[in-house]
Subunit: 345 residues, 2 copies
């Protein structure tokens, strides 16, 4: 395995998460150094100084271990998925006008929108490079999967801007699900499918894996939407989604039960970001509180989690079952406190 | 060759340019249909309705024929390069604020900047998909080349925004060359290298090919800069570069000989696009006219073309020599009229 020997990764089959994520970061940095110079290089390195949770490489590691895969085999796939995710964050922050990410100014805020477009493009391009150079037997399938899942992520972004136009209160729930299917769940499903392909798993197993992680993506995105309004996302402010006019799960779920409030919510969501004030957030919060919106949303999430847990593959595969349950716990941890706090408030 | 059989391309080794370019367009459309739906699909199809000159696929065809290559072998490489080029155009138009491309509104102008970012991302992602599915023996090298040349194009874009800050009149010429090396010439060099790789050409030939097409890229970009000010680029207006504050070859060449005019040109270039008026363009034109700037630039271009023509490979390879000369003529055709008109004016 050329590409594995080139990296100095001492691939104990079961190295710890810090070692694995450290290796992913090191390869990302090498790739930046190899493919860029000057300003582009410094912007890229700067972006990766704050690494975030690295949830996706961690999922890949956990899943690989659950299949008894040598972690060296999934290293470049983890790098590809992590670079892709970061490329989308950089473009996403620009599109949404988010000024803070991981406690630091976003790329467009620091270097201007032109350079943020360039940096995201650069990362999209180099994401699969390590994979191309690897000698994995599943390489072609992984590269194809990369193009398919990435283009679905972009399609989700396209749909999101359509959803946020909020043209009517009808069919919002389905539109919302289509949108998060693209922007979040297709990457979750794709990264898991990739690990399955590397393991040479049979077709049926692959499609179960894809479906489980797709659902996990939905769980992640719905908690993320709840967290945005009720928690602290390290963005230096709360309620970014409302300010950005995003039709989050909280909005979708609320309007489904209270269509009569479409006009008042639409008015606030359609305001420019800078014009949305604390008073607007309080109006939204009062509507949500008066109608137990948080409880309804948490109930919905619970039902999704229950569905996910009862997937037939998990009933027969204890190792995967344990893994998925621990991932669910990890994903829901940030909103566990909120639920208690807010409902008792 | 799976991927070639899948496409219905009746690959007569020497099919005409219209047939080849038609096939490239057909595969691009298929790829859009396969990878997208809804709004994303309609934006992508709309963009490719106006195809432009398709210079890059044409170069690939001509070069393949000069090496006696079956055109079916270079079809997916041509598709990859053409989609990549269009992705960069969409992001470039947004970054530059260009409102018209190929006689039609640009993507950002029609659908907003968020969707222009999305469409460019989508095209960057799907560009190499046909290649991934092909069974070309040089596939891995081509995929790697795609990532290297694309990231150089992005690096050129990054450098361009630095150049356009116009922080001093020193070293502008070198900065300009670095910048067009990335944004234009690396794609010209890469597409030619790709054809050489497909042909299985020896290393020395490959590096000559790369170097010749790299220089051809410089010739193309310098004529393009001249055309922007003196010709009609189908953008519905003249002097876009000046309005956008671009440090074009005309500016670089002028300031090299007339550094005392740095302040007056910098003042005009730094104006916002909407604030740059006809009077500003006339000031620039008068400076250029009084100092024979067009002649100097055309002289410089002539010298570059002479250098290119005297490349050692061309002196021994008559077929390639004829090809390169015809490409030079094609590239320079749009400014041939200008030179006569303007100098006689």
């Amino acid at each position: 395995m050329n590409s594995l020997i080139n990296s100095d990764f001492s691939y104990a089959t079961r190295c710890g998460p810090d070692e694995f994520l450290g290796e992913v970061s090191r390869i990302i940095e090498q790739s930046i150094m190899r493919n860029s110079a000057g300003k582009l290089r410094s912007m890229a390195l700067k972006h990766f100084e704050s690494k975030g949770k690295m949830l996706r490489p961690m999922f890949i590691r956990d899943l690989a271990l659950s299949m008894n895969l040598d972690l060296a085999l999934v290293l470049h796939w983890a790098v590809t998925c992590e670079i892709l995710h970061n490329a989308t964050l950089i473009h996403d922050d620009l599109q949404d006008g988010d000024e803070v990410r991981r406690g630091k100014p976003t790329t467009w805020k620091e270097y201007g929108s032109e350079q943020a477009i360039n940096l995201g493009d650069f990362l999209l391009i180099i994401a699969p490079q390590g994979l191309i150079k690897s000698s994995l037997s599943s390489k072609n399938d992984l590269l194809h999967l990369f193009t398919v899942m990435s283009s679905r992520v972009v399609a989700g972004q396209v749909d999101e801007f359509e959803l946020n136009k909020l043209q009517s209160e009808h069919n919002l729930h389905q539109q919302y699900l289509d949108c998060i299917a693209g922007k979040t769940s297709s990457l979750f499903a794709g990264l898991a499918l990739g690990v399955g392909l590397i393991a040479g798993a049979p077709k049926e197993f692959l499609s179960s894996l894809e479906s489980i992680f797709f659902q996990l993506g939905h769980v992640f995105q719905i908690q993320d939407d709840i967290l945005d309004f009720y928690g602290n996302k390290q963005r230096g402010e709360r309620g970014c989604d409302i300010k950005e006019g995003k039709v989050s799960f909280l909005i979708v779920n609320y309007l489904e039960r209270n269509p009569q409030d479409f006009a008042v919510l639409a008015r606030i969501l359609r305001k420019k970001r800078a014009d949305t004030n604390e008073n607007d957030l309080q109006i939204v919060q009062k509507l949500f509180n008066d109608n137990n919106n948080l409880e309804f949303c948490l109930d919905h999430l619970d039902r999704r989690v229950d569905d996910l847990r009862s997937h037939s593959l998990l009933l027969t595969n204890i190792v995967l079952n344990n893994l998925v349950n621990s991932l669910i716990e990890m994903i829901l941890a940030p909103i566990r406190e909120i639920s208690v706090e807010q409902i008792n408030a």
